[in-house]
């Protein structure tokens, strides 16, 4: 456990922090009172960097991003503790109207389903110009001009014409570009992309990921990329935060995470993917018979409200020992900039994709 690690080139601590989240906790109202769905998550995103939050459904990754945007339902949810600082301002404690001033301007979000996330009753130009007019006090004409500009920027051909089209007149991939254009219209410091490419075909996904990368580089934005797809993480992320059952279980630079995961859950996820086993599949002898079984994480993730005591992953973990059930694990530093919430993180050597 003493191997010094090479810091990945994409990570440089000296760069400015765009969004700094500390100890974020979110609770939802249920029949049985307040249930914790996000439990003390901390992370930071730097300018020009992409942080991927990865997790399965129910892990709390989307709730985390919505909390930063102040978009959680006000009466059925609360954030009892934690801060999310943008430009030195804590977003979580900001009054509603002040948060509205920042949303779409300094911190913007692009959503998963471009079909349902764009208003069918207005032209895309109208919907983009609206943001500009709201935050830049721009005149109608000015907003419209900017709409054409950003549509062009995200690669929509004939932007000046298409600006007058309605969302249903675009294809899925083009709609997703419109979503991105809308989010970057005011050149925000932070862009949150929530399962941005999940509904898209792979060739379109590749295009859209490319657009996100270009926009990040051109505008120097910090990108918070929420996804469940580790292959997409490998493609777009500089750093990764893995969430399980409302907690962050591992965080690291992307190369190190895939090469040497430190949390058994991350290892399980990586090994559940068919692609990681194809290296061996290629050498499999007879077709069908010599096939290697996929590893899988047994059981189901726990449900908020009935979390296991101790380590939440312990019941599904092949490395679990008594200490895992008895004590709540802390985030341990495994290597520089690599942390894992596992009691045995320092003694285990887990396998990654290479």
């Amino acid at each position: 456990m003493t191997t010094p690690d090479v810091t990945p080139p994409s990570f440089a601590p000296s760069r400015d922090v765009a969004l700094q989240v500390d100890g974020l906790t979110v609770e939802f109202a249920t029949d049985r009172g307040w249930t914790r769905v996000v439990d003390g998550v901390s992370f930071s995103v730097l300018r020009g960097e992409t942080l991927a939050i990865v997790g399965e459904s129910g892990s709390g990754k989307s709730v985390t991003s919505l909390a930063c945007m102040g978009l959680l339902p006000r009466r059925s949810s609360r954030t009892p503790s934690g801060t999310a600082e943008l430009d030195g301002v804590d977003l979580l404690s900001l009054p509603v109207r002040a948060m509205e001033d920042l949303r779409g301007d300094r911190i913007a979000m692009a959503f998963q389903e471009p079909m349902t996330s764009l208003n069918p009753a207005y032209t895309v130009g109208d919907q983009i110009a609206e943001v500009v007019r709201r935050h830049r006090d721009a005149a109608r004409k000015e907003g419209w001009r900017r709409a054409v500009e950003v549509l062009d920027l995200v690669g929509i051909p004939r932007a000046a014409e298409r600006v007058k089209s309605y969302p249903h007149e675009f294809s899925g991939g083009m709609r997703q570009r419109v979503m991105i254009a809308m989010a970057i219209a005011c050149e925000p410091a932070v862009l949150i992309a929530d399962e941005l490419t999940t509904a898209l075909d792979v060739t379109i996904q590749a295009q859209v990921l490319d657009v996100v990368r270009q926009m990040r580089d051109q505008l120097g934005m910090a990108v918070l990329f929420i996804t469940h797809d580790l292959a997409v993480v490998a493609d777009i992320a500089d750093r990764v935060l893995v969430m399980y059952a409302g907690q962050e279980v591992e965080t690291s630079a992307v190369d190190d995470l895939f090469a040497r995961p430190a949390h058994p859950y991350t290892e399980g996820l990586l090994r559940s993917m068919p692609q990681s086993s194809t290296a061996t599949a290629a050498t499999a002898t007879a077709v069908g018979t010599g096939r290697r079984r996929l590893d899988s994480i047994p059981g189901q993730p726990p449900v908020p409200g009935s979390m296991p005591a101790g380590c939440r992953f312990a019941p599904r973990c092949p490395y679990a020992v008594e200490a895992c059930v008895d004590g709540v694990p802390e985030l341990l530093q495994v290597r520089p900039e690599h942390f894992a919430r596992c009691t045995r993180a320092l003694e285990l050597t887990l396998r990654g994709t290479r």
Partner: protein
């Protein structure tokens, strides 16, 4: 190294994931409490206080109507001109009408008429609406086009005017009036059934069942009908309320129940000539209508909320 509670950690040369099935007892981690659909419905329904009240109120109304002859304090048809237009009192709880008949007793029998009439109308609507709706929704094609156009056409005629016209053709009495009400309700049932069936038809479980080789009749019976039942039951409850309203309106106009019998609507109809002298003749039966219709509507809404399907697990 501490003694491990789950078991000893796997040896270093052994691949820990292969064949590993989890430490937790599969039975224990799962929610073993199972609940039948009926019990879930009862639990959800009984948690709605208002709907429970409505159910009790309707139960009371039905009981009173069923045992009308035994519960009335006076003969509903006995006239007593010397005590006409009396305000509510200890003897006549709800007062008397213009010829001295006991309002309460007449209302008890009126409840019987109103409920039966509403039930008749809803039955007619069900027969005329559900079967064609099923056919139109499930098979589509030209049958659907024709039935939908007919529905459209009927719905373009103002409902009460259509009812009046039908009564006009057949002659004014309660049976004809309620048939007419049934006719004007039928398109709603047809549309509801049709759209419910069309929604169900798109579900994968219908295709799954077809792919197994289930016959069309069995698909309709085993998969389609049970899944459109809940919206139908809700609509029946709501329609009972509206049928009572329609009956009241037609009887008020003199096109429904004929004297000397009286439904609540007819009682308001005769009472309004004495509005300034004896407002109770109008207010009390009218209030009874409002409460009864309200009860059916609240019940319908409560049923709708209790039938609701589970929400899909959303990412949190």
């Amino acid at each position: 190294m501490t003694r491990s509670r789950p078991t000893d950690p796997p040896a270093a040369d052994h691949d820990p994931w292969s064949g590993f099935t989890g430490w937790a007892d599969a039975e224990a981690t799962e929610d073993t409490r199972t609940e039948s659909a009926v019990r879930r419905f009862v639990r959800r329904f009984s948690s709605q206080r208002l709907a429970m009240v409505a159910l009790v109120a309707i139960g009371f109304l039905v009981a009173v109507a069923a045992f009308a002859p035994w519960v009335v304090p006076h003969d509903p048809l006995a006239q007593n001109l010397s005590r006409a237009l009396e305000a509510p009192s200890a003897t006549y709880w709800f007062g008397t009408d213009a010829v001295g008949r006991d309002t309460l007793s007449r209302m008890v029998f009126g409840a019987r008429l109103s409920l039966l009439a509403a039930a008749e109308a809803v039955t007619v609507a069900l027969v005329l609406g559900v079967v064609p709706g099923l056919v139109a929704g499930f098979f589509g094609g030209w049958v659907d086009i024709v039935l939908s156009r007919i529905t459209d056409a009927v719905m373009r005629i103002p409902p009460l005017i259509l009812a009046i016209a039908i009564v006009g053709v057949f002659g004014p009495n309660l049976r004809n009036a309620m048939f007419a009400v049934g006719v004007i309700f039928a398109p709603r049932f047809l549309r509801l059934t049709r759209s419910a069936v069309m929604a169900v038809r798109e579900e994968t479980y219908i295709e799954a069942s077809r792919s197994i080789g289930t016959s069309t009749g069995a698909v309709l019976r085993r998969h389609v009908l049970p899944n459109i039942l809940s919206p139908l039951i809700v609509q029946i409850s709501l329609s009972m309320g509206f049928a009572m309203l329609a009956e009241a309106s037609l009887s008020f106009l003199g096109l429904g129940v004929q004297p000397p019998q009286a439904s609540w609507g007819a009682m308001v109809g005769t009472g309004y000539r004495f509005l300034d002298l004896a407002p109770h003749m109008v207010l009390i039966p009218g209030f009874a209508i409002v409460l009864a219709v309200l009860a059916f509507n609240v019940l319908g809404d409560g049923l709708r909320d209790s039938f609701g399907r589970e929400e899909r697990a959303a990412d949190r």
